[in-house]
Symmetry: C2
Subunit: 199 residues, 2 copies
């Protein structure tokens, strides 16, 4: 239907998450009908980021520098280390403003079926950090999925053996969540992890 280059653009846009054929077409026509300069700027930004963004050598977060901003910052608590699965998880925690330590990004989770073993998610590198840095508490913030839980258990066993205190972020009913609409899995987790009041 569309000419070659436009079809190719629509096709290429579908690699973006949440973009189906209809949105890809809308995006392509928008880029071509409106501001071509912005389209070229977008192409340049994708190229620059794809070619030059690498991983932080300490925490494996995405960065174009040797070390990411958080690892390089002297204002971060060196005694706390939080393990997350993805850079998006790291960003969500940073936005909440509730954590002042450093991070370690697995960029995945243990999943033997997908060929993700301990080395693929950098657990050897994490253990080297635990051995070489003055870390006192390791906070596991992997997701509450089968793979995320397995990953948390695997890391906690190794870290505990090294004498490091390991904790897991709390899972339960979210703020403002009405019990009526919370799923059964979350509710049973909330009951199993209940805490005594006025202790």
């Amino acid at each position: 239907m569309f000419d070659g280059l436009i079809s190719e653009l629509i096709d290429a846009l579908r690699c973006l998450p949440g973009v189906g054929p209809k949105s890809a077409q809308r995006m392509a026509l928008h880029l071509l009908e409106r501001d071509r300069e912005r389209a070229l700027r977008l192409a340049g930004a994708i190229t620059a980021a794809a070619e030059r963004v690498g991983r932080c050598r300490r925490c494996r977060a995405l960065t174009e520098a040797e070390e990411c901003r958080i690892c390089a910052s002297a204002r971060r608590d060196p005694k706390l280390l939080c393990v997350v699965e993805t850079p998006a998880d790291l960003f969500a925690i940073e936005q909440s403003g509730s954590y002042q330590g450093r991070y370690f990004v697995l960029l995945g989770r243990l999943s033997p079926i997908d060929g993700m073993g301990p080395e693929e998610i950098g657990i050897d590198q994490l253990l080297r950090r635990l051995a070489g840095e003055p870390i006192e508490e390791l906070i596991l913030a992997t997701n509450l999925t089968v793979e995320g839980e397995a990953t948390a258990h695997f890391i906690s066993e190794h870290a505990t053996a090294m004498g490091i205190s390991v904790s897991r972020i709390a899972h339960g009913v979210p703020l403002g969540g009405e019990l009526e609409y919370v799923d059964g899995g979350t509710l049973s987790h909330a009951f199993a992890s209940r805490r005594r009041m006025f202790s």
Copy 2:
């Protein structure tokens, strides 16, 4: 929060329609975490399309060639010409398979406030086509907005003066639309445009 190049990428992605800060961030991380080659392919497709896609010299549709496929096709009825506002409208009509003539794409609508006069939307070019080609019927498929209606009226006056039969696509209750849920404007249009049965 994010490093320079990643922030720039997130910012650039927001030029896409329907992409807010959260989706832009998700898209940027997806492009960087997963397949960098696809990201580069996307950048290449945007650049190629933005630099080489122009307008068909006959109908103003987007194309990389001198003439778009529809104008170049000998199987299209040369006696019918349909006026649409955007290439997306043209695509929607083509997908319905209900029209075999050629098109003229305004790439806009009459809107003096936005500086869109008859020349900006190519009406002079349209009138030259009407004068030079064996067109018998001009079908106006601009949108049913104030500007779309004004554009349709403006074109119909000029085309009628040239002795060409002008029609407007029908507006009314859509297929499968239940009267209960159809908006008042559509309903009053459906009543005003009612047709005698068995005529």
